[in-house]
Amino acid sequence: MGKHFSTFRHDVWLPYKFAVGQVFKAFYDGLKEEKILGNQCQSCGKIFVPPRSFCPDCNVDMGDYTEVSQEGEIVTWTLAKEAFFGSPLDPPFITALIRLDGVSCDLLHLVGGFDLSDVTGVRQRIKKNRRVRAVWNDEKQGHLLDIKYFEPL
């Protein structure tokens, strides 16, 4: 049927200036030096990456920043075969939740560094608990993607 009375194209286009806050600022500064920073809740002892301004469980202020391991395990993953709005890379790419060693939550990031063209091949290579390590971009911008991706060990 469709809109046979015609339609009206309308774009909502708006500018933003997001307040970063001191905690993400510290995290981004760490990325520029190839460090992954977390922080620890003084109450429950959990270590969060990215660091938090307050513990999501205990709601108390967090302690000092600590550098965490750049290695960890894949918790779950997906291979994107299509381009989506806001995607960081052209497909194919892998988005994964990664549990870095010693950290109490999973980091949402990319997995790469090998041939992603074939789903079956990727499924054989990437599995739950597969160990991975951060690979850095040469140019740093203070952005999550200063880590290019995590590559399987």
């Binding site: 997001f18 970063v20 999501p56 890379l89």
Partner: protein, 380 residues
């Protein structure tokens, strides 16, 4: 003070693209439910709507835009964003408070006007972390599906069976958007979007204007011979970052627990006659069925294979075809409720279940991998 609340009647639009303007379409469905119940606009106590702004519609403060189309001129009212079942719950509160004896609850979505839900849900992310990694709803769902498969050995074919069942049911639903006769092979062969999620396992982008008239006990008995009573409601919010959550232990369990306690339900599988579940991704019907206690953790695959959730099974799930057949993103929770109401009233046409339907469950969810859940129980 009234102590019971009833749904008197419902009206809904089909999920396919309509050439009507947003406001006319909404007016139509409100008019329909008022005409059906014989209640004039002037008599309506207040109007509670469920809608989303800008992102799902392109107009901020959408409640301003559609206020008079939703029968709201010079009326008391309010609006819920996020999960549309909350508008129903708020309507119930309004009546239980004794201030109103009728409430018009409307769910509003004109999906055909919007960009893809994946684009819109990208704006659910925080600007500092998850947005930079490109998260949207489909990525979150795919991560959850993989975790489900890995942890419990759920098979892709079991997830795909949900599509076959629901699109099969949709063939008998005049309001469904997708009407395709398909088999398991079609689903398994459909395009991989975010492995392991395939195109046919993801809900479409649909239109959906739905209106329900609620009434106090006294008023309901005047208005209908078949009132459907509010029995219980629960909802629960999860933490924000995906990485802080166990994707398989969802807040649906908590939401269902609250609803069952209110409704006095002890054995949901036995006591509930029909369930309408919000399953924008096929595997989620299985996972949510576990969460509401239709089977144990990890048993969702077996549940679909057993046939129990088919139209003729012991616990039919999504006789309407579910969200996989019709996904008016913003109003889909109220669509679930509308179907349950029609089943209980015995007015579900060709898709009416063969057995007696006395108690039904409607479920809605929003947010990445089910960050928020709502469960409503209604019955005779």
């Amino acid at each position: 003070m009234s102590n019971r609340v009833a749904i008197v009647d419902v009206a809904q639009t089909p999920g396919s693209e309509s050439s009507d303007n947003f406001l006319d379409q909404l007016y139509g469905v409100c008019k329909e439910v008022l005409d059906k119940t014989g209640v004039s606009r002037e008599e309506v106590g207040c109007v509670i709507s469920a809608a989303s702004d800008v992102f799902h519609g392109g107009i901020s403060c959408a409640n301003a835009y559609y206020w008079d189309s939703g029968a709201g001129f010079l009326k008391n009212g309010s609006r819920q964003d996020g999960e549309s079942l909350l508008a129903f719950y708020y309507g119930v509160m309004r009546i239980l408070s004794g201030h109103f004896d009728t409430v018009l609850v409307v769910g509003i979505c004109k999906g055909s006007e919007n960009p893809s839900d994946d684009m819109i849900t990208h704006f659910y992310t925080d600007p500092f972390y998850q947005r930079q990694v490109g998260l949207n709803e489909i990525f979150a769902a795919a991560l959850q599906m993989r975790a489900y498969m890995d942890t419990y050995g759920i098979k892709e074919e079991q997830c795909a069976q949900v599509v076959v069942k629901n699109l099969g049911n949709a063939l008998r639903n005049p309001y469904a958007h997708l009407k395709q006769r398909i088999d398991l092979e079609d689903v398994m062969q459909s395009r991989v979007l975010t492995d392991p999620l395939k195109e046919m396992e993801c809900a479409p982008k649909s239109e959906g204007m739905v209106a329900l008239l609620l009434a106090s006990e006294e008023k309901a008995k005047e208005l209908t011979e078949k009132p459907v009573w509010f029995k219980g409601f629960g909802s629960s919010m999860d933490t924000f970052y995906l990485g802080d959550r166990n994707l398989l232990e969802s807040e649906i369990t908590n939401a269902a627990k609250q609803a069952y306690a209110m409704a006095g339900i002890k054995d949901p599988r036995k006591e509930i006659d029909v369930a309408e579940i919000t399953e924008p991704y096929a595997f989620q019907e299985l996972l949510w069925c576990e969460g509401i206690g239709f089977c144990g953790p990890g048993e969702g695959g077996k549940l679909i294979e057993s046939g129990a959730t088919q139209m003729n099974g012991d616990i039919p799930v999504n006789p309407s075809g579910g969200v996989l057949a019709n996904n008016p993103y913003v109003s889909r929770g109220l669509y679930r409720l509308a179907e349950v109401v029609l089943q209980i009233k015995g007015q579900a046409g060709e898709r009416q279940l063969a057995k007696d339907v006395n108690t039904g469950l409607a479920h809605g969810t929003h947010g990445f991998a089910g960050q928020f859940h709502a469960v409503a129980i209604v019955g005779t």
